[in-house]
Symmetry: C2
Subunit: 235 residues, 2 copies
Amino acid sequence: MKKRAVVLLSGGLDSSTVAGIASLEHGFQVSALSFRYGQRHTIELERAKKIAAHFSLEYNVVDVNIAQWGGSSLTDTNMTVPTDGNDAGIPSTYVPGRNTVFIAVALSFAEAIGAEAIYLGINAVDYSGYPDCRPEYLAAFQTLANLSSKAGLEGNGAKLVAPLIHMTKVDIVKKALELGVPIDVTWSCYQGGLEPCGVCDSCRIRDKALIEAGRLDLASSYAQLGGNLNESPSS
Amino acid sequence: MKKRAVVLLSGGLDSSTVAGIASLEHGFQVSALSFRYGQRHTIELERAKKIAAHFSLEYNVVDVNIAQWGGSSLTDTNMTVPTDGNDAGIPSTYVPGRNTVFIAVALSFAEAIGAEAIYLGINAVDYSGYPDCRPEYLAAFQTLANLSSKAGLEGNGAKLVAPLIHMTKVDIVKKALELGVPIDVTWSCYQGGLEPCGVCDSCRIRDKALIEAGRLDLASSYAQLGGNLNESPSS
């Protein structure tokens, strides 16, 4: 019987690549976990489902509405997603407690099904500056996980695995291509549109890496039409 | 303006007492938070709402179904809630990751509304032996909380406060009486019945403390009729 793992799958480039790593490289029987948390870009859930199907993973969606109390431009449609390039500090797209809630639910799931690992697409190099994407955050969560659960206390708790944490975005693109991740299916845009906006943080970081990896053809229309990914389109 | 706090309110004796401490003793403007997580004893939510009304707290219920993958007799109706007294080890009523999920959601909520404290009814003395009720678990969560959030990194993260953690159950009963907690409204039973079973762990621990505090009148019918709270009713 194959060892089991849970993969937090948002349908973005990073988590889709991690799904490939867990299933193809590390040989786990993977249960993918997505969240309907009140995000404006629910298109990512359709994409996550397709990615799960691509790698033949069991697919699960959990509802937990952490958008109901606002606090982020990613969930609050009264706020605007920034499109003027990478800001200093923590941007408004940061969703309070999002990764903490997602990993907590994944721990519950992993313990119930006896999974020995939880794979995360967290990346601390080319990212939006969210506090809950850093190695020290992950280490603290592992400590908590080991103390929190029946399995953890028995020494069989799930390990939090973040294979991309120290990779650059262009290396992630290369890894995705190597694993056959259908990059055109993945969805990284923070906006709620029908195609990637090309100007939010997430699109900019992704497009830049795709171009650097020689795959302009996979970038957003904005990038393909020669949009400047480093500067504000309005400045 | 009053300082704000979040209270995790299950509707049980402990969390109801904590709601009284946070609002009456510590003077917080309290937002109470309950969870519909797939528990069989949803009656606790009606009770939590009444307790919140009693203390004039804002009341919120969040849905997050961590019962869908089974693993606990508290949520899985194919399993039986143990009624034969306090077992050694972690009992089957333990819900994988429950407190971790609840506290994670509370952190998200607290950060969004600017609450400076999260009050928890966790108790490590007269309890069911769950791993996620111990001081070391709470300390690890505080470390994580400080690292995980925008507010935490800015030094304004919510503090996890567990005023009952080192109290005996009888002292909790006394504190509840002192604060005017309507103990008859609180619900602690693990079963899904219309009145407390009197024989699950939670009822036994509660009834014993009520009797010790001289309030047999507030105990379950089983206790009032002279049921033995220390031994198995079937042995």
